[in-house]
Symmetry: C2
């Protein structure tokens, strides 16, 4: 079973990486880009076959390792 | 209009970051994690209101800046 975790900086937390991308897109002539946020995408191959158990286990991984919950929020998709 | 770009290393391209996460999860006692791939998640706020035009423009951004298409593949979601 596959799981996808999307980790983004929380709203209000400064995102210099996203800001750099926004500036670079402007320099390349792309107009109308209001804001850019950059986060992490983590894809996991799990031996677990039960979707509920997989979600539970991935939530624990996020809380312990994958996300810094002080400044980052995460979303889990079980594929 | 919002767009989300998911950039992942292509299959077969070594992913040391994902490998480090896999090892760390193992050390923390999470079992049954077969493989981990880590990529980038980029969220864009666009002034464009037509979904087709937005997708077209974001594809150009990916080809020019957001992804290194030699080693990375990308997926675009218009939200």
């Amino acid at each position: 079973m596959k799981a996808r975790v999307m980790v983004m900086l929380r709203n209000g937390v400064l995102d210099p990486q996203g800001e750099a991308v926004r500036a670079a897109l402007g320099n390349l002539g792309f107009e109308g880009v209001g804001g850019v946020r950059q986060g992490k995408l983590i894809e996991l191959d799990l031996a677990e076959t039960d979707p509920e158990a997989a979600r539970h286990s991935v939530t624990a991984m996020c809380e312990k390792l994958l996300a810094n919950t002080v400044i980052e929020s995460y979303q889990i998709e079980i594929l």
